[in-house]
Symmetry: C2
Subunit: 239 residues, 2 copies
Amino acid sequence: MNIEAIKIACSNCNLRELCMPMGLSNDDIERIDELVASRRRIKRGEYLYQNGDAFSSLYAIRTGFFKTCITTEDGRDQVTGFQMAGEITGLDGIVSDFHSCDSVALEDAEICVMPFDKIEYLSREVKALQHHVHRIMSKEIVREHGVMLLLGSMRAEERLAAFLLNLVKRLHARGFSRTELVLRMTREEIGSYLGLKLETVSRTFSKLSDDGVIAVKQRNIHILDPDALNLIVNSQTCA
Amino acid sequence: MNIEAIKIACSNCNLRELCMPMGLSNDDIERIDELVASRRRIKRGEYLYQNGDAFSSLYAIRTGFFKTCITTEDGRDQVTGFQMAGEITGLDGIVSDFHSCDSVALEDAEICVMPFDKIEYLSREVKALQHHVHRIMSKEIVREHGVMLLLGSMRAEERLAAFLLNLVKRLHARGFSRTELVLRMTREEIGSYLGLKLETVSRTFSKLSDDGVIAVKQRNIHILDPDALNLIVNSQTCA
DNA sequence: CGACACCTTGAAGAGGTTCAAGAAATGTGG
DNA sequence: CCACATTTCTTGAACCTCTTCAAGGTGTCG
């Protein structure tokens, strides 16, 4: 066992609980360690993959922060998600063997490259891995349902509140604060994700700030009143 | 081989190309025939599954038309998709073992029940089936990306045009007309899916009709000018 | 044939966008 | 390390699209 092998092993990774299945036998763990073919560093602003790229691997994020977005020929642009450490990206490429969106690093990042044929091979051998892959994909589908609900039925303030709560929840699961967060993306990227213009995002931040619900200092957000934020999302002016 | 077995076999199903993997050996085909545990008839308006139901199976639609939707406690409601013959529904349940949305038949329907543990078992044995399952889930993820683009960046007319083109494309793949279609859903359901109020949907239908792009007669739509419809979607007032 | 669900249309109003200008932060090169 | 260019963010005012509320019309099914 050389140093490189230790470094790459999932079994040694502190993100294991986030991106790998639980309750494996030692034997299975050893096999899954083979999944990660390599690590890759991506600088801020660089692409992990782009629309049209051949699909070969899924990527587990070790450090850093990504956005995925689709850009159409006619110039439309839509951020479809933000990914952080322990999350998997690249699922869009499976269906057609080509990626249909771009993945861009919003800060310097390191990712684990997991060749998909290897994943499929091991999934046939390790039941827990197979189910794990299915759950990851299903989870992404359910997440997108939530975004559809947000885009289809919420007003600006509700969207931004839901967005902040979702971010802080995921960050908290990674050991960060439940009330403080640093946005890794611009107002424009938030707006694209939420179906709003950047000015609206900015104005809505200002309003939430005026209302004493959050404190905004550039990209640093302090959630002062989590309950109020929850209330904004979960109580559309009742009929 | 009894009559019942013949009736249920995927190998005899005329929707095989739509919902099953291609290029299987005879041996594999025989095994996949075991996938469908039973058929189930669902009357118009009835649920195939509901939010909170235990997840056990995926469902292949043989005949009929479904919608999936999420309903939140605070009364929000979002149609997340429409499914037709040859399509698979139920993927939302995998991640948590519970369904997180409702599936409702919009017309009398018949579906094939495919227990998910059977799918996972056979996926470990039949490589083509495994990949097929992965592709189905990836396809759903990519579809939802498209909906996010629609909800996040399109105006009412663009949304409705994109919706009609998508419907007619899927119907055409099933042997129906490229220019005529019958809507199986109400204006309200279309509106929910597209993030619009039913009045806006109705008005937009009227506008497209006035412009000579489509002819609307209740739920019967005749696409008079497919190019114009495409243009509406693909050419937001260029910058 | 009558009741009910569904659809259409009008008018007023609200929420978000657009355009514009300036302020704050960030990055770059000398 | 500082000055300058660039990017990002904030805020205001006018405008526009979609929503809301309301009423009437059309179709369907028992």
